[in-house]
């Protein structure tokens, strides 16, 4: 059989096309899935404003983002939902690493009962996830919900089966309010659960909860908002039962005590009106970047993202960074320039 001449010609064209755009600056990043919808909007918008800069992002998970950035050095920046540990920073082949808060997220409890509007305190949630509280009419749940008629049904606990920043935030909070939880389960992206079923991803957890009468689970706030899933208020450190919202999550970042390197958990933050199961999501960058032009472009993008870009956060359901954090970050970003 003879191959028509246009086939090699078309192939050659395909191979040559990218070379024609060699003058665009390409920056690559990898990390958590949580920020992906926001990140892709940012990169898209930024590319329209600055056609010379093109940023590619792979949402491979926070662990993968940390690895690719600090160990394999295959990307220009990393992204993570949980701060790098001291050990990870020590073992990193890239030094120094800056943690730059980009947006905020919350994790919310969801449940499946005919009774709506049940509120939870952190201690109660910890006891449920430890398997200490097994019935919905337990006195501890009744104390959180005075006057409410709770059904005498068994509780089915649902958690994430895949390693996830959502789990990290959830168990980080439960460990802060319950010593027993901290000792038995601890903090991590995947932990050993004493009880319960595992679902893969937010959709797996919400699917299991929807399908299992009497179940309780946790999902990202943004996922619950997008899918119109009702979620419960949680008692904060000031003793109020607060519903997660963009304002109450941002509030947690404003009242939390944030160290110079931004590696901080803002769960159980002090102050009124704040939602206690909130977290930053960070971009990992380094001033030690080799390529000066790329470094400058990344710097400019990050400055844009924490200022003008924050408007896009709200539109997509992410809580924006509070002004106090943005002010500090702009100063720190100067190190990248």
């Amino acid at each position: 059989m003879r191959i028509p001449t246009f086939v090699p010609a078309a192939l050659a064209l395909l191979l040559l096309t990218p070379a024609a755009q060699a003058d665009t600056l390409k920056i690559s990043g990898a990390g958590g899935t949580f920020i992906y919808p926001l990140a892709s909007k940012w990169f898209n918008d930024y590319n329209k404003l600055h056609p010379g800069v093109q940023i590619n992002y792979q949402s491979i998970g926070s662990g993968g983002g940390i690895r690719q950035f600090s160990q394999d050095r295959t990307v220009d920046f990393g992204e993570t939902d949980g701060p790098m540990t001291d050990q990870q920073l020590q073992e990193s082949k890239v030094k120094p690493i800056m943690h730059l808060p980009m947006a905020l997220g919350g994790v919310v409890p969801v449940y499946n009962l005919p009774v709506g509007g049940i509120k939870f305190s952190g201690v109660t949630l910890a006891a449920i996830y430890l398997g200490r509280i097994v019935m919905w009419d337990d006195p501890a749940i009744a104390r959180d919900n005075p006057g409410m008629k709770l059904p005498s049904e068994p509780i089915t606990v649902v958690h994430r089966a895949d390693g996830s920043g959502t789990t990290y935030t959830w168990v980080d909070y439960l460990s802060k309010v319950s010593g027993e939880f901290k000792g038995k389960v601890g903090v991590g992206t995947s932990v050993t659960w004493p009880v319960g079923l595992g679902g893969k991803g937010n959709e797996g957890v919400s699917g299991l909860v929807k399908q299992t009468p009497g179940s309780i689970g946790y999902v990202e706030l943004i996922y619950a908002l997008q899918n119109k899933i009702a979620f419960s208020p949680v008692k904060n450190a000031a003793g109020e039962y607060v519903n997660a919202s963009l304002a109450s999550v941002s509030g947690a970042a404003a009242t939390a005590n944030i160290p110079a390197d931004y590696r901080v958990s803002i769960t159980n933050a002090p102050g009124k009106g704040v939602y206690p199961i909130s977290t930053f999501t960070w971009i990992l960058a380094t001033p030690a970047m080799q390529d000066g032009a790329k470094k400058k472009a990344l710097h400019d993008f990050l400055v844009w993202a924490v200022t003008k870009g924050q408007a896009a956060s709200i539109g997509l359901g992410y809580a924006p960074l509070p002004k106090s954090v943005v002010q500090r970050e702009l100063k720190d970003l100067a190190k990248l320039n």
Partner: protein, 338 residues
Amino acid sequence: MDDAVLDSTGRITPGQILPYRAEDLQRQGSGRSADRVFRLTTGLCAAVVGALLLVVILFMVKGSALAFRDHGFGFMFSPEWDPTNQKYGALTFLYGTAYTSLIGMAIALPLGVFTAVALVEILPRGPAKLISLAVELLAAIPSVLLGLWGIFELVPLVRRFEIYIYKSPTGLRHLPIFSGAPLGVGYLAAGLILAIMALPFILSVTREVLLQVPASQREAAYALGATRWQAIWRFILPYSWKGIFGAGLLGLARVLGETMAVTMVIGNTPQIKASLFASGYTLASVIANEFTEAPSELAISALISLGLILLVVTIVLNAGARLMILYLNRRMGTREVK
């Protein structure tokens, strides 16, 4: 024979002219160089396939070294899986894979073989064709979709069955295999999904095998005065047992490594329970769930080790099956028709 040609089923259709004449063969692809190129190409392809397997095995052995060095061979038999405290063991996942595969095969094998018998021996051609087509389409459904269907349709159905057992006055729920809360997700739901996934493989291979049974075998059976049932049970199935065995192995291989659909309906709880209704975890599921966010090198190594164990299980099963065929062949040698 000059005017005859073999059709696709191997039968000779008379009256047709062969597509080539001897002179044609003189022109294209003649000579030793063409032979050599052909041999080289095919040989290279075979070598690439072999090397591919070797590369994958090497990767897994290398990747799992850390976990085995750290935990010793106790890794295989420890029921603990605690990423926060860096303690890893394979036992719960091995158990889950074995249990769900067993359920899946226990359903799919008889269902597949009997359906194949119906298609080949009993049903008229039209409906048989239709059913074959439907089953082949079943194999084309992505496992993620089957998993979703599992969560939304199958799991509630399984839960209804579990509640029925739970409330049944017969006291069935006191049996260990029916004990526990009616959750819907768990070994049973996973096994049912696996059965659906293995079915097309088992059925289509068994059907092909039954079609290969020579007419003489059937005629001999009927000549001896066998009823249809006797002909199938005593003559046709024994004649093709080796092929059916192979069909089962193919189905099993599919079932052992299945990931997405099982992950969505098994509950992902690393525990060892006898009950069909309990939630569990499989080797493939835990790899899929935890790999992207594995917290440390050791965790990654432990996950790769689970993959290696799965591979070894598959190889052992395959080798065992081959040995068994060899052994049975020798014992039944006199009955084999070559």
